[in-house]
Symmetry: C2
Subunit: 128 residues, 2 copies
Protein backbone atom coordinates (compact mmCIF):
# COMPACT_ATOMS: atom_id res chain seq x y z
CA UNK A 1 0.00 0.00 0.00
CA UNK A 2 1.40 3.43 -0.89
CA UNK A 3 1.42 6.31 1.63
CA UNK A 4 -1.79 7.92 0.31
CA UNK A 5 -3.70 4.62 0.33
CA UNK A 6 -2.55 3.83 3.86
CA UNK A 7 -3.62 7.32 5.02
CA UNK A 8 -7.04 6.78 3.42
CA UNK A 9 -7.33 3.41 5.13
CA UNK A 10 -6.41 4.99 8.48
CA UNK A 11 -9.08 7.67 8.05
CA UNK A 12 -11.64 4.95 7.32
CA UNK A 13 -10.59 3.30 10.62
CA UNK A 14 -11.16 6.60 12.47
CA UNK A 15 -14.60 6.93 10.81
CA UNK A 16 -15.36 3.38 12.01
CA UNK A 17 -14.51 4.41 15.59
CA UNK A 18 -16.56 7.60 15.42
CA UNK A 19 -19.54 5.60 14.16
CA UNK A 20 -18.95 2.97 16.86
CA UNK A 21 -19.28 0.51 14.01
CA UNK A 22 -17.87 -2.45 15.96
CA UNK A 23 -18.90 -5.13 13.45
CA UNK A 24 -16.51 -3.45 10.95
CA UNK A 25 -13.59 -3.05 13.38
CA UNK A 26 -11.97 -6.32 12.25
CA UNK A 27 -11.55 -4.87 8.75
CA UNK A 28 -9.05 -2.39 10.23
CA UNK A 29 -7.59 -4.12 13.28
CA UNK A 30 -5.59 -7.36 13.28
CA UNK A 31 -6.74 -10.30 15.42
CA UNK A 32 -3.34 -10.17 17.16
CA UNK A 33 -3.21 -6.41 17.80
CA UNK A 34 -0.78 -5.15 20.44
CA UNK A 35 -1.45 -1.98 22.44
CA UNK A 36 1.66 -0.36 23.94
CA UNK A 37 3.55 -3.61 23.67
CA UNK A 38 0.84 -5.82 25.15
CA UNK A 39 -1.11 -8.36 23.09
CA UNK A 40 -4.78 -7.52 23.65
CA UNK A 41 -6.26 -8.93 20.43
CA UNK A 42 -9.20 -7.64 18.44
CA UNK A 43 -11.74 -8.52 21.17
CA UNK A 44 -9.68 -6.73 23.82
CA UNK A 45 -9.24 -3.73 21.55
CA UNK A 46 -12.98 -3.49 20.89
CA UNK A 47 -13.71 -3.87 24.63
CA UNK A 48 -11.28 -1.01 25.37
CA UNK A 49 -12.99 1.26 22.82
CA UNK A 50 -16.48 0.36 24.05
CA UNK A 51 -15.36 1.17 27.60
CA UNK A 52 -13.99 4.53 26.35
CA UNK A 53 -17.38 5.41 24.83
CA UNK A 54 -19.14 4.27 28.02
CA UNK A 55 -16.85 6.52 30.09
CA UNK A 56 -17.10 9.40 27.57
CA UNK A 57 -20.47 9.41 25.77
CA UNK A 58 -19.49 12.41 23.57
CA UNK A 59 -16.13 10.91 22.56
CA UNK A 60 -15.05 11.82 19.02
CA UNK A 61 -11.71 11.23 17.29
CA UNK A 62 -10.34 14.17 15.28
CA UNK A 63 -7.16 13.76 13.24
CA UNK A 64 -5.06 16.90 13.68
CA UNK A 65 -1.92 15.67 11.93
CA UNK A 66 -1.26 12.52 9.95
CA UNK A 67 1.96 11.04 8.58
CA UNK A 68 1.98 7.90 6.48
CA UNK A 69 5.12 5.92 5.77
CA UNK A 70 4.01 2.31 5.15
CA UNK A 71 3.71 0.14 7.10
CA UNK A 72 3.49 2.93 9.72
CA UNK A 73 1.06 5.76 10.38
CA UNK A 74 1.65 8.49 12.97
CA UNK A 75 -1.38 10.48 14.03
CA UNK A 76 -1.99 13.39 16.33
CA UNK A 77 -5.54 13.09 17.61
CA UNK A 78 -7.36 15.81 19.49
CA UNK A 79 -10.33 15.41 21.78
CA UNK A 80 -12.84 17.83 23.24
CA UNK A 81 -15.06 15.65 25.39
CA UNK A 82 -16.79 15.13 28.69
CA UNK A 83 -15.83 12.03 30.70
CA UNK A 84 -18.71 11.42 33.09
CA UNK A 85 -16.56 10.13 35.98
CA UNK A 86 -12.97 8.84 35.86
CA UNK A 87 -10.72 8.93 32.80
CA UNK A 88 -7.15 7.55 32.92
CA UNK A 89 -7.47 7.57 36.70
CA UNK A 90 -8.43 11.27 36.79
CA UNK A 91 -11.70 12.39 38.37
CA UNK A 92 -13.00 14.47 35.48
CA UNK A 93 -16.61 14.12 36.70
CA UNK A 94 -18.51 15.73 33.84
CA UNK A 95 -16.15 18.58 33.01
CA UNK A 96 -15.40 19.14 29.33
CA UNK A 97 -11.68 18.73 28.71
CA UNK A 98 -9.40 19.18 25.69
CA UNK A 99 -6.39 16.96 25.15
CA UNK A 100 -4.23 15.21 22.59
CA UNK A 101 -3.10 11.69 21.85
CA UNK A 102 0.04 11.13 19.79
CA UNK A 103 -0.03 7.63 18.41
CA UNK A 104 1.92 5.35 16.08
CA UNK A 105 0.21 2.48 14.27
CA UNK A 106 2.02 -0.45 12.64
CA UNK A 107 -0.01 -2.11 9.88
CA UNK A 108 0.22 -5.69 8.62
CA UNK A 109 -1.71 -6.70 5.53
CA UNK A 110 -3.73 -3.49 5.77
CA UNK A 111 -4.71 -3.98 9.41
CA UNK A 112 -3.42 -2.34 12.58
CA UNK A 113 -1.20 -4.77 14.43
CA UNK A 114 0.72 -2.42 16.75
CA UNK A 115 -0.41 0.72 18.55
CA UNK A 116 2.00 2.92 20.51
CA UNK A 117 -0.09 5.60 22.14
CA UNK A 118 0.64 8.42 24.57
CA UNK A 119 -2.33 10.39 25.92
CA UNK A 120 -1.70 13.83 27.37
CA UNK A 121 -3.03 13.13 30.87
CA UNK A 122 -0.97 16.05 32.25
CA UNK A 123 -3.05 18.42 30.10
CA UNK A 124 -6.27 16.89 31.47
CA UNK A 125 -5.00 17.18 35.05
CA UNK A 126 -4.18 20.86 34.48
CA UNK A 127 -7.82 21.48 33.49
CA UNK A 128 -9.31 19.96 36.65
CA UNK B 1 13.97 18.19 1.30
CA UNK B 2 12.91 14.62 0.54
CA UNK B 3 11.77 12.20 3.30
CA UNK B 4 15.18 10.50 3.68
CA UNK B 5 17.05 13.83 3.88
CA UNK B 6 14.61 15.18 6.47
CA UNK B 7 14.99 11.99 8.54
CA UNK B 8 18.79 12.37 8.39
CA UNK B 9 18.48 15.98 9.47
CA UNK B 10 16.25 15.00 12.37
CA UNK B 11 18.75 12.36 13.51
CA UNK B 12 21.49 15.02 13.43
CA UNK B 13 19.26 17.18 15.66
CA UNK B 14 18.92 14.28 18.14
CA UNK B 15 22.71 13.80 18.10
CA UNK B 16 23.06 17.52 18.86
CA UNK B 17 20.80 17.11 21.91
CA UNK B 18 22.63 14.01 23.14
CA UNK B 19 25.95 15.89 22.86
CA UNK B 20 24.39 18.91 24.59
CA UNK B 21 25.93 20.87 21.74
CA UNK B 22 23.96 24.05 22.42
CA UNK B 23 26.01 26.29 20.10
CA UNK B 24 24.77 24.12 17.18
CA UNK B 25 21.12 24.02 18.26
CA UNK B 26 20.21 26.99 16.02
CA UNK B 27 21.17 24.94 12.96
CA UNK B 28 18.21 22.66 13.72
CA UNK B 29 15.71 24.84 15.56
CA UNK B 30 13.99 27.95 14.21
CA UNK B 31 14.29 31.25 16.09
CA UNK B 32 10.48 31.29 16.31
CA UNK B 33 9.98 27.72 17.47
CA UNK B 34 6.64 26.84 19.08
CA UNK B 35 6.32 24.11 21.71
CA UNK B 36 2.82 22.63 22.08
CA UNK B 37 1.33 25.73 20.51
CA UNK B 38 3.28 28.26 22.56
CA UNK B 39 5.98 30.48 21.04
CA UNK B 40 9.08 29.89 23.16
CA UNK B 41 11.77 30.77 20.62
CA UNK B 42 15.23 29.26 20.25
CA UNK B 43 16.48 30.70 23.56
CA UNK B 44 13.47 29.33 25.43
CA UNK B 45 13.88 25.96 23.73
CA UNK B 46 17.54 25.76 24.69
CA UNK B 47 16.72 26.79 28.27
CA UNK B 48 14.09 24.02 28.45
CA UNK B 49 16.61 21.42 27.25
CA UNK B 50 19.33 22.63 29.59
CA UNK B 51 16.86 22.40 32.47
CA UNK B 52 15.98 18.85 31.39
CA UNK B 53 19.66 17.83 31.55
CA UNK B 54 20.03 19.58 34.93
CA UNK B 55 17.02 17.63 36.25
CA UNK B 56 18.15 14.38 34.59
CA UNK B 57 21.96 14.17 34.31
CA UNK B 58 21.86 10.81 32.48
CA UNK B 59 19.23 11.99 29.96
CA UNK B 60 19.64 10.44 26.50
CA UNK B 61 17.30 10.58 23.51
CA UNK B 62 16.75 7.28 21.66
CA UNK B 63 14.68 7.22 18.47
CA UNK B 64 12.49 4.12 18.58
CA UNK B 65 10.37 4.91 15.52
CA UNK B 66 10.67 7.65 12.93
CA UNK B 67 8.32 8.74 10.16
CA UNK B 68 9.25 11.47 7.71
CA UNK B 69 6.74 13.19 5.46
CA UNK B 70 8.16 16.66 4.72
CA UNK B 71 7.73 19.15 6.24
CA UNK B 72 6.76 16.87 9.15
CA UNK B 73 8.60 14.29 11.20
CA UNK B 74 6.94 12.03 13.77
CA UNK B 75 9.21 10.39 16.29
CA UNK B 76 8.72 7.94 19.10
CA UNK B 77 11.46 8.59 21.63
CA UNK B 78 12.27 6.29 24.53
CA UNK B 79 14.08 7.19 27.70
CA UNK B 80 15.70 5.16 30.45
CA UNK B 81 16.94 7.76 32.89
CA UNK B 82 17.21 8.92 36.47
CA UNK B 83 15.64 12.28 37.35
CA UNK B 84 17.34 13.42 40.55
CA UNK B 85 14.26 15.13 42.05
CA UNK B 86 11.08 16.22 40.28
CA UNK B 87 10.25 15.51 36.64
CA UNK B 88 6.99 16.74 35.08
CA UNK B 89 5.74 17.40 38.60
CA UNK B 90 6.46 13.82 39.70
CA UNK B 91 8.77 13.12 42.65
CA UNK B 92 11.05 10.61 40.93
CA UNK B 93 13.86 11.30 43.42
CA UNK B 94 16.70 9.31 41.89
CA UNK B 95 14.77 6.27 40.70
CA UNK B 96 15.54 5.04 37.18
CA UNK B 97 12.40 5.20 35.05
CA UNK B 98 11.51 4.13 31.51
CA UNK B 99 9.06 6.12 29.43
CA UNK B 100 8.19 7.32 25.94
CA UNK B 101 7.57 10.61 24.22
CA UNK B 102 5.54 10.67 21.01
CA UNK B 103 6.31 13.88 19.19
CA UNK B 104 5.54 15.65 15.91
CA UNK B 105 7.94 18.23 14.47
CA UNK B 106 7.05 20.74 11.77
CA UNK B 107 10.08 21.98 9.81
CA UNK B 108 10.49 25.28 7.97
CA UNK B 109 13.56 25.82 5.80
CA UNK B 110 15.19 22.78 7.39
CA UNK B 111 14.64 23.93 10.96
CA UNK B 112 12.12 22.81 13.56
CA UNK B 113 9.42 25.43 13.92
CA UNK B 114 6.66 23.46 15.65
CA UNK B 115 6.84 20.71 18.26
CA UNK B 116 3.77 18.80 19.44
CA UNK B 117 4.92 16.54 22.21
CA UNK B 118 3.19 14.16 24.59
CA UNK B 119 5.28 12.57 27.34
CA UNK B 120 3.98 9.42 28.98
CA UNK B 121 3.83 10.75 32.54
CA UNK B 122 1.28 8.04 33.46
CA UNK B 123 3.96 5.42 32.77
CA UNK B 124 6.41 7.27 35.04
CA UNK B 125 3.80 7.56 37.79
CA UNK B 126 3.15 3.81 37.57
CA UNK B 127 6.86 3.16 38.27
CA UNK B 128 7.00 5.28 41.45
Amino acid sequence: MNPADLATRYRAYIACLNQQDWPSLGQFVDDQVHYNGQLIGLAGYQAMLEQNFADIPDLAFTVEQLLSEPPWVASRLTFVCTPIKLFMGLAVNGRTVTFSENVFYGFRDGRIEQVWSVIDTAAIQAQL
